[in-house]
Structures are given as structure tokens and as C-alpha cells.
Symmetry: C2
Subunit: 255 residues, 2 copies
């Protein structure tokens, strides 16, 4: 039933904790966003990091200091995401359904594009994805692809991997390149060792599904986990994110 | 003779004050950039303003707090621009050949794309521009086109105007759209009153050259003066810019 609700209706259910579910597949056609909240003292350096690394960190909105509502959704960022993670000094300390108890007036909120957008475009072109078929979280890996530094923020790119049938790779590239605000085209195709991944079957995040290397090739995209991973290296006094898969559903159409 | 010097050689002449000249037409093929320096306390809001208004404010580089060298030029930002302007509390207080006496460790430097890039592309397509033929500064106007606010930074867009022969307008649009880091395609074509300009012959900056409205149509582009104009409205304790027409010549090729 939730599938038929509007973004506003769905967010209200999250606000009232009537649903605590992954947003994958919800509110078909509407942009979903990664969220990172940092105190103002980190805001310039983090924004610059995103500006310098737009493929892993495609900013779709910034909510200024102390404000709670984005421009791309009639939402309250403190309550309208189904689940949040609280990190202090780089360590996960809490997982909560709203962040009212943690909210501070010096918080700046960053919303970033996510790969749900291009996955849907691939599905619509008739291209199925293994992790969806298996109902798993897409596998993600830390790589040796260096991001451009900005102040205290530095580190390597995190990528997601999708195995694609060899004769579909060209089409998959063309489709995903159309979504620069959702990580765009692949950053690597083929040999994982070329980007510092030793064992595809051991992702750093998410779950691996075996595939036939005769028929399929691993394709890697920049991943929205990158800014979270890089953010945590800085060990900020506090950093708040959405829980993985529990995104902000915006009022903006994907196209 | 200066026309044949490399960017590095030209910048060294500026550093040693051997030349104090407009950079228009110098170091053919190399990107030139607008420069704005602000204290760190304004940096997040100004970067966000540029991010939200990429057409008038196309960032090509940011030099972090206290650093003096950009990534796009082997340059010292304090000496290698031919002429600088110093503003305090929104008022012009000095025009100088280097800023060593004003330099502070909390300064952040923003470099932005400039319309020299697309003017050159138009020239190469055989399209001449009136202000170049008359050796004048392109006319610029404040408009009623609102920029998106960011913190204390808010205001309207400044545009530059070039009169274009009617049968060339389509071609001019196509060429300038290829340069998103140099303001991209026009923001308006035709009636100046539609964007809040009452009298084309009275520009707010630069110089007007009369043209035949039978043969030509006024075409308006977002202008790099916008961030300076908006910046000054905030009346920052100090803000430093290049003097108009005296840009930073970078080591980056325009294409």
C-alpha cells in the first residue's frame, strides 16, 4: 500500500514512525537523497570536498545552518527520514528514528544524489540487476582511486559494483551517463585489482552475489558512501547520516 | 611582444610590475579567471552562493585558507595578477599592484570563469564583437533576475550585453553553450526591459556602443561581476578582487 503514497504522505508516516522501512522502491519517480549533517565549523571544507569530487558527491541541496527544511522537499529533515545514524568522533554511537534530541542550531545539512535514480532507469530499459533480484544491498568497496582533498577531508573513493551482461555494457554506460547528479557513468569496468579491490566476494559494505565471469563483467560506479566514509576519517565531534537504504524521499521528479 | 609570452612568463612580469596591463588578448588559448578573496568566516556562504548560481559564478578553483597558489596555475595569487582592488565594508579603498601588505592567513581565494573564453570562441567562428572593434569594455547591467540566496549573500544577476547580427544569433547560442565554465549560453535575448534594464545606453559598468536594431539584437549573458556585486552588498570587513580586465592568467588551456 505504501507504494501508492506521495512523498509527502510517506514522509509523514516516517515522521510519526508508522513505517520504519527502507525507501528502496518507494514513491516511484521521485528523487531520493543521501543525507549528511555536520556542524558549521566543517561546512566550508565539506562543501568544497563535494565541489571537488562531484561524481561520488553530487550535491542536490544544502540546508543552511540551523534550518530544518530543504528546498527540494516540503520536509522536516529532523523527523522525515525513516532511520538515522549518529556518529561521534568517527564512531557510530546511536541509531534513531528522529534526531530531535541531537539537533543543534549550528548544523548544516547536505543532500546528495543516489544510485537508486540510475538503477530505476536501467530497470526501465529492461536491464535487471543481481542485487535487486536477490533482494540484497548492492556490494560496495573501498578503492585506491584518490579523491581531491579539501581541508581536513581526504580519502579514497568508495564504489558500488553491478555485474552486467557483456553485450549490455555499452547500453548501461549510455544510460547512467545521463544522470550526473546520481554518480553518472561508471568509474571503472572490468578488473577490480586495477582500482585496489583484491577480492570482489568480500565487499566493505553491502552483499556480494556470485555471477558468471563468462557472461558478465563487473561495472563500478562512484558511491554516495564516499562522503560518509571520508567524513568519518575527520572524526567530527558529531556527524549524522541517514541509515543505509533509509533515504530522504524528495518532492523532485527524477527526470 | 608580450603576446608571445607563456602564462608563467607573463605572470612573472606582473609579479615584478614590469607590465601593468589588461590581460585581454594575452596568452592566447589559456583560461583567464576572475578572482575574489574573502576571510574564512564568509567562505562557506560564498561557496554555497556560487554553487547555487553556477551560471554567473562558475568556480574554476578555490585556494584554501592561508594558501597562495591555485591548482590551475603555478602562480602566487598575491603578486601575479597585474592589478588588485581592496574593498573594506563594501567600499573601494585601494587599488594596488600586489596584495602582500593586505594578506592574512584566514583568506580564502575563489577563481571564477570569465567571458573572455567564449568571446575568443566567437571570434574564431568569424563573429566580431562591437566592444572589441571599438576597443571598449563590454557593457554590463544590473538586472531583476534574482540569484538564489546563500546565507548573507543575496542579490540580482549582473549581465553583459553583446549586440549580435540577427542571422548569427542561433550560432552564437550554440557556441557559448559549449562553455558552462564561462557563463554558458545567453540568459536573455531581445527586450532589455524584460530583465529590468531600462536604458541600454546607460550600462552600470563598462561602455555602450550604439548598434542598428534593424540588423542586430541585444544578447545578454550572466556576468562574473555578479559575485563581486553580491559580495559587496554583504559589506565584508575586507574583500579583494582583480581590477576589471586585469585577470589571473592560468596554465589551463581553454579547451
Amino acid at each position: 500500500m505504501s507504494k501508492l503514497l506521495s512523498p509527502k504522505e510517506m514522509r509523514l508516516r516516517f515522521r510519526e514512525n508508522k513505517d520504519v522501512i527502507s525507501t528502496s522502491g518507494l514513491c516511484d519517480g521521485y528523487l531520493q537523497a543521501n543525507m549528511i549533517i555536520l556542524p558549521a565549523e566543517y561546512a566550508f571544507e565539506f562543501l568544497l570536498f563535494c565541489h571537488r569530487n562531484p561524481i561520488p558527491c553530487p550535491i542536490v541541496d544544502v540546508i543552511e545552518q540551523g534550518e530544518g527544511s530543504p528546498s527540494i522537499a516540503d520536509a522536516d529533515i529532523r523527523t522525515d527520514i525513516p532511520k538515522y545514524r549518529i556518529y561521534k568522533n568517527g564512531e557510530l554511537v546511536d541509531e534513531v528514528l528522529d534526531i530531535k534530541a541531537y539537533w543543534r542550531d549550528d548544523f548544516v545539512t547536505f543532500l546528495l544524489g543516489c544510485s537508486f535514480t540510475f538503477e530505476k532507469a536501467l530497470n526501465e530499459a529492461g536491464i535487471s540487476l543481481l542485487h535487486q533480484e536477490m533482494n540484497k544491498v548492492v556490494p560496495m568497496y573501498q578503492t585506491n582511486i584518490k579523491c581531491r582533498n579539501a581541508g581536513r577531508f581526504h580519502g579514497s573513493m568508495v564504489v558500488s559494483m553491478r555485474a552486467i551482461k557483456k553485450d549490455l555494457v555499452e547500453q548501461v554506460i549510455a544510460i547512467t551517463e545521463k544522470f550526473p547528479h546520481a554518480h553518472g557513468g561508471p568509474v571503472h569496468i572490468g578488473d577490480p585489482s586495477k582500482i585496489g579491490i583484491n577480492d570482489l566476494s568480500m565487499p566493505d559494505y553491502g552483499e556480494f552475489t556470485p555471477f558468471s565471469t563468462e557472461e558478465m563483467v563487473p561495472v563500478f560506479w562512484a558511491c554516495g558512501v564516499t562522503p560518509q566514509y571520508v567524513g568519518l576519517q575527520v572524526k567530527p565531534s558529531i556527524m549524522i547520516t541517514h541509515a543505509p537504504g533509509y533515504m530522504l524521499i524528495t518532492d523532485r521528479k527524477e527526470d
